[in-house]
């Protein structure tokens, strides 16, 4: 039983990295499909397309970040061993949920927006600035979730 706390924290880290990463993977995939379609017409757009395709990738990074924070918190990344009881482990698990959930869904939504914006720059390459801002609107909610996860992780006392 004395390991349960730490394992709950590990579950939290796994969910954060896993779900946010999946969301990003799907999002980047959706945007990439649209990008490949555009590049069959105009391979010269590679740079712009790559930029827009990369935008839904941040959720994965946020998930990874939270996961690292979580396992750092319970002393799995070197340093002195931290005794973690079940309640603290549950706390870490719950703290990981905002970015796990919001990261997954916002990654997909942002991928769709990016794909639409890739279509937009195919027709109007001069509007790249606006095309970059629209997917960033979606990312806001991943940023807020990341913020909450970090604040929650930070507030759990050991």
């Amino acid at each position: 039983m004395d390991q349960l706390g730490i394992m709950l924290a590990v579950l939290g880290a796994a969910l954060a990295a896993g779900f946010a990463g999946s969301g990003s993977a799907i999002g980047v995939g959706i945007a990439g499909e649209a990008g490949a379609g555009i590049m069959t017409e105009d391979p010269g757009k590679f740079g712009l397309v790559l930029l827009l395709q990369a935008l839904p990738g941040t959720q994965g990074i946020y998930g990874l970040l939270t996961a690292f924070f979580a396992i750092l918190k319970v002393g799995l990344l070197g340093g002195a061993a931290v005794p973690v009881n079940v309640w603290q482990g549950l706390g870490v698990l719950f703290a990981c949920l905002p970015i796990a959930i919001a990261g997954y869904y916002s990654g997909i939504a942002q991928g769709k927006t990016s794909a639409a914006c890739i279509q937009m720059i195919a027709k109007r390459p001069e509007e790249t600035g606006k095309a970059v801002i629209l997917p960033a609107m979606v990312e806001t909610y991943a940023v807020l979730a990341l913020l909450m996860s970090i604040i929650l992780l930070n507030s759990i006392q050991f």
Binding site: G57, T58, I61, K130, I133, A136, M137, L144, I150
Partner: protein, 676 residues
């Protein structure tokens, strides 16, 4: 703050000098031509009443440009240039004078080059298509290689005998042979190509007397035989035909190689000139379009254009030599006019002007938000990136690029903007103690700089995120209140007192009141703050209730709209919370950097190759991190300007000033715009 003033001018010039005048205006690059309301342009007589420049008739220009487009499309991908891609992207374009280009234009026989290139292109296309055809035919012939009769039996046949080729299901072969024999009764031949055990279908050739044609064809289609057309030109037996095609293919191969080599040569020889000619024709076309855009009488042409007030002297000075043959007049702007927008910013804010252009230019009577936004963007970018090490890396890169390549225009502005961003990043990194994350603390070799690093640290967001969050939200409140005040000032300026006091004043009082009230709840400011807060809230809310329904008819609807408008307080709350991204992104940068450092520490423990892996992880990881975070910091600090700040006072809708200029793609024109 306000956009630059522009003047509307009318220039009447004698036909004799009009071409020179347009060339001078183009060289000045500060006059935006106003086209004729009826469109103009379709009447070539207006352009050249004296018939002097036949060489540049619209048709010549168009065909020249279309030739050049073809040449660039065909030859440019083959052109090898020694300069690096970065150099070509950032560096200055090669310079040339207009007379040089003009001379080049007369000396170059563009139609001849084009004909040559078109021939080469056609040759290549034909050879490649024939090679594809040969590949298909060879494939087919190989499948019936053991067929011993010449192919003409199938393609032509004789008077009495004909052949049909096709595919047949392997299971059907025996049955098919039986049926076939029944019809032809010895006077025909069935050839079945060899097949492997796994194959479901094989090729077959039927040879039979023409008198049996209809019977055989009917039987064959019933038995699942599908006919194939025999390619034309195949005469001899498959074996010999394969040999013939093979040798033809080799010839074609040589032909293609030769044509490719010649195209390559042509590209090396002509692309630099073609690029220059492209620019020359673009310049001339712009001039011609300008000439036909004006009205014209028997003796004079009338051009109308916008000039920024600041450049007026310059225009007058440049037109001095034509005195007597021209007349420059001020024209009164009419209500329907759509003056172009010139951003007129002080030097320090100019690098930020691409951000305004990105959103959309302000309207002519509107506010230019560049100066107002610049300090916030500067600070927010630094907070979002928030790492001294990354700031240094990024600053070094952009400084190098600026010094190395002689950039101009918005490209330069953008690079300077990011350089400024790196300065604020270094500053924020220093006071939060983040240098490539926790690098200084993580690796003992940096222990000697630890005291220096720690001496300037004011705040550690990793340990105390709430304070940093409070700072972020406070900055949000400041920027939003600032935005409301700008809108208020703008309304005053336009004489809209009710709007200024009702819309903006009401919200200002309400929000400041809420802040005081909230402050008092946390024991800041004491009783005075509480009273002040409550009264401001009451004043603000009352103002809003009284004014926000003023467009609605009837007392009840006015009152309902007024009360409902208070609900908008949630949108202000949302706006302020949105600034929490300053903390989140700043933390993310430090944390990703910290992860890279931790991983570096972990892999360095691996025996033998640990040091190599550590170096790879450290540099690769931080490089990735700096790219991702710079992108994120830029986008998100921009978003705060566009969505949270601009929405308070700014509406775009202006038209960017696009003067008649040397709008070239490959060359930079220096010197006068006329032939010397």
């Amino acid at each position: 703050m306000a956009v630059g003033k522009v003047r509307k001018l009318r220039l009447i010039s004698h036909h004799e000098v009009v071409e020179h005048v347009v060339a001078v205006l183009q060289e000045l690059e500060c006059c935006e031509i106003i086209g004729r309301e009826d469109g103009g342009g379709s009447d070539p007589d207006i352009y050249d009443p004296s018939g002097r420049s036949k060489a540049k008739s619209p048709l010549d220009l168009e065909s020249g440009l279309s030739d050049i487009r073809f040449l660039l499309r065909f030859l440019e991908p083959l052109y090898r240039n020694e300069s690096s891609p970065l150099e070509r992207m950032l560096g200055p374009k090669p310079s040339a004078t207009f007379s040089e280009l003009s001379l080049l234009h007369t000396q170059t026989d563009l139609p001849e080059i084009t004909t040559k290139a078109r021939k080469l292109e056609r040759k290549l296309a034909e050879a490649r298509s024939e090679m594809a055809q040969i590949a298909n035919q060879t494939l087919l012939l190989k499948s019936i290689r053991s067929f011993s009769h010449p192919m003409w039996i199938i393609s032509r046949g004789t008077e009495k005998v004909m052949g049909v080729m096709g595919t047949l299901s392997v299971d059907q072969i025996d049955l098919f042979r039986e049926e076939f024999e029944k019809i032809v009764s010895g006077q025909g031949e069935l050839f079945i190509a060899e097949y492997l055990e796994k194959q479901a279908e094989t090729h077959a050739v039927l040879i039979f007397s023409r008198s049996h044609e209809s019977q055989v064809i009917e039987m064959a289609s019933q038995q699942g035989f599908s006919k194939m057309e025999c390619p034309h030109g195949l005469e001899s037996t498959p074996g010999k035909e394969i040999e013939r095609l093979e040798s033809r293919r080799e010839d074609l191969f040589a032909e293609v190689a030769e044509a490719e080599a010649r195209s390559l040569e042509m590209a090396q020889e002509w692309i630099p000139s073609i690029r220059k000619l492209n620019d020359f024709l673009l310049i001339t076309t712009a001039r011609r379009d300008t000439l036909v855009s004006g009205y014209s009488t028997e003796k004079v042409s009338i051009l109308r254009f916008w000039v920024p007030s600041a450049s007026l002297d310059q225009v007058e000075k440049a037109l001095k030599p034509f005195e007597g043959l021209i007349d420059l007049q001020d024209e009164k702007p009419e209500p329907g006019d759509d003056p172009p927008i010139v951003l007129d910013n002080p030097g320090w804010a100019v690098p930020f002007s691409p951000l305004t252009k990105l959103y959309g230019m302000p309207s002519y009577n509107g506010i230019d938000p560049t100066v107002l936004m610049a300090p916030f963007f500067f600070l927010f970018f630094g907070m979002c990136l928030g790492d001294g090490g990354y700031g240094l890396v990024m600053g070094a890169f952009f400084l190098y690029a600026l010094l190395r390549y002689n950039m101009s225009g918005d490209k330069k502005n953008f690079f300077v903007l990011l350089l400024l961003g790196s300065i604020s990043t270094i500053f924020v990194g220093a006071i939060t103690g983040s240098w490539l994350g926790d690098m200084v603390d993580a690796f003992d070799i940096f222990s000697f700089v630890r005291p220096i690093k720690d001496s300037v640290v004011l705040l550690r967001p990793m340990n105390d995120p709430i304070t940093f969050l409070a700072i972020s939200l406070a900055l949000g409140v400041v920027q939003i209140l600032f935005g409301i005040m700008i809108a208020m000032w703008d309304a005053f300026r336009k004489g809209d007192m009710v709007g200024a006091l009702g819309d903006q004043g009401g919200w200002l009082a309400l929000i400041v009141g809420i802040l005081f009230w909230g402050g008092a709840a946390f024991d800041i400011g004491g009783q005075t703050a509480l009273v002040a807060g409550k009264s401001l809230v009451a004043l603000g809310a009352l103002t809003l209730i009284l004014t926000q329904g003023r467009d609605k008819p009837g007392f009840v609807r006015k009152a309902v709209s007024g009360v409902l408008s208070l609900y908008n307080v949630t949108s202000y709350l949302g706006d302020v919370l949105s600034y929490s991204r300053l903390l989140a992104l700043g933390l993310a940068t430090s944390a990703i950097a910290m992860i890279v450092n931790t991983l570096t520490g972990l892999v360095s423990g691996i025996p033998y190759v640990g040091w190599l892996l550590a170096v790879l992880v450290f540099f690769g990881g931080h490089l990735f991190s700096v790219v991702v975070n710079v992108l994120g910091a830029f986008i998100h600090s921009l978003r705060l300007q566009y969505v949270e700040f601009f929405s308070k006072f700014y509406s775009g809708g202006g038209r960017i000033f696009s003067p008649l200029r040397f709008d070239t793609k490959y060359t930079r024109i220096t010197g006068p715009g006329l032939k010397e």
